[in-house]
Symmetry: C2
């Protein structure tokens, strides 16, 4: 029988001695900073101005996938939610729900991924929580992160700010994250050369805002894909949108896999892409700046905001026809993030 | 066969149409406020000063128990973590991980509990997230909350601030939450007249700070109970502690149930109690103020901080002997919060 010492026990979540050891040996040293290290009930820091605050739980399955894992995802996803308000992400919480029996070696890999992602994004983990539930009461590991950021003066980004005439920019190719995760599901029998695009986009947003502070909307097309994100923005801003299929960047492997499986890449999740909506006068300048950043190299102008058909998104297909692009209904791929 | 319409489906977590309907029909109307209602990727608000930031995931089983439910707990627990830094809790996130098949009627009860707890504590839910996992991948419902609060000028509370000579105050009777939850476990065959003490303590803390801004430490003895909390504070502050068993408030039903089951109430979780450590000159004044508040009526001075045996807690028992009170080791009652 294998030793239980390399696995998470219920007592690791009891709040007692093993909980303290787990936190102090496995978590705090890797994420160390003066605010976290105080280990009080809450983190304390000084901050003044317009703050952005967001949270997401990550339940992706499997927890390791090409291009990332649940740890990297849990930082990048929340960094991106803050960046989509134009905020500089600063302080993060990380809360783990671990299934009894989870391997400590896997936890260590994920703790390291989290550390690397925070370093790339320039954020600090300042508070956290660990719960352990009995075997069968959760699937391996769920992570919640919440983040606090600061919005620079003069930035006013919201999903309700799109105006007719604005251009719609997309920072790169779509559909990789969803397919990369799906390709690892146990039931799937083929392997595809697709990596998740999981990445922190806050520095790309800083670059774009330097090129034009007049960016009206930013959003990352995660669950529900590009189609759902554009519908959300059209609804919130009470405008219509027209996009061109031939301008939407797409990797050949993604196109082929979607065709094979009957998926529409417009509905497949991304974790390292953003949609930006801004005045036409600034569009080329922002696009050029975007393309200088490693996460925006394949950026493109994919369409524009119109007065007609408010709340609806229409796509001109490669065949020249028009197609109404609805929000995702049903669930294409569960547990993608 | 029962209709699936009154249950949570995987598609409620897809990010698509059903997710939007769930958020806009079942969550936002109940928790409505101008910041939340914008529904951008992050909440935006102005705030300046020393902020406190904390998170906890709640995995309590069962999700309904005498005196509360997972919703009330998820607000009170995080309110209390902020209050234990002396902060005024302000802005909250709520992230749900729901098992496919969960009843919408139960979700509604919990959403209402959350609303009532936020109203009592005076906090606002400004951002959130909903994930759905397939049946068997989680146990009914897990909730994560994170909270942001503001620390008033002149308040400096930390687990490392206890000084020899300080008095140790406890706001009331111990052990109710743990026993109340345990009494609902399916395997248990008896019922006990014990309700969870689950409550928001932020207003009690405001009252106590009004009586003395010199409070050195505050902590709520949750997982691991009073014994573990005192050990944490003794370790963080590098001091010893002496407490008197006969001064620790205890309900007769809790005493009897613990005796029957072989539990030590010092290790049983509380969700509406706090420990305060402060200079002896202010102890009676703070105690009197505490007793005016409905959550501090049975407050008591239970011991003092000493120079000797740093990091250790010693209790004088009712029999007059001395007993070393260690931190909880192992897990007394899993999934208590």
């Amino acid at each position: 029988m294998k030793s239980t010492e390399d696995r998470i026990l219920l007592a690791h979540g009891s709040g007692g001695r093993l909980s303290h050891e787990l936190v102090q040996k496995s978590l705090v040293p890797s994420w160390s900073n003066p605010v976290l290290n105080r280990l009080d009930d809450a983190a304390v820091f000084k901050l003044s101005g317009r703050l952005a605050f967001t949270t997401d739980s990550y339940v992706v399955s499997p927890i390791f996938f090409p291009g990332g894992d649940i740890g990297k995802l849990s930082i990048c996803g929340t960094v991106n939610d803050l960046a989509m308000c134009g905020a500089q992400p600063l302080y993060f919480s990380v809360a783990l729900i671990i299934e009894e029996g989870f391997r400590l070696a896997e936890l260590e890999r994920i703790v390291t991924s989290i550390k690397e992602a925070t370093e790339e994004a320039g954020v600090e983990i300042v508070t956290g929580d660990t719960k352990v539930v009995p075997r069968g009461s959760a699937d391996k590991l769920f992570i919640n992160t919440a983040g606090v950021g600061l919005i620079p003066e003069g930035v006013d980004i919201s999903g309700s700010n799109a105006r007719p005439g604005d251009k719609i920019l997309l920072s790169g190719t779509i559909g990789e994250h969803g397919l990369a995760v799906m390709s690892q599901r146990e039931s799937l029998e083929f392997k595809i050369p697709i990596q998740s695009d999981c990445a922190p986009l806050n520095k790309l947003v800083v670059d774009m805002l330097a090129a034009s502070p007049e960016i009206h909307c930013l959003r990352d097309p995660t669950r529900g894909g590009l189609a759902t994100t554009l519908n959300e923005l059209a609804t919130q801003s009470k405008v219509g949108m027209r996009i061109d299929e031939e301008n939407i960047p797409l990797q050949e492997a993604v196109r082929a896999t979607c065709e094979l499986l009957g998926f529409d890449p417009l509905y497949v999740a991304n974790e390292g892409k953003l949609v930006a909506i801004l005045p036409p006068t600034d569009a080329e300048r922002v696009l050029n700046q975007m393309r200088q950043n490693c996460y925006g190299r394949e950026g493109a102008i994919i369409g524009e905001v119109v007065e007609q058909h408010p709340g609806r998104v229409v796509m001109r297909t490669r065949l020249g026809t028009s197609r109404l692009i609805d929000m995702l209904s049903g669930d294409l791929l569960p547990r993608i993030c």
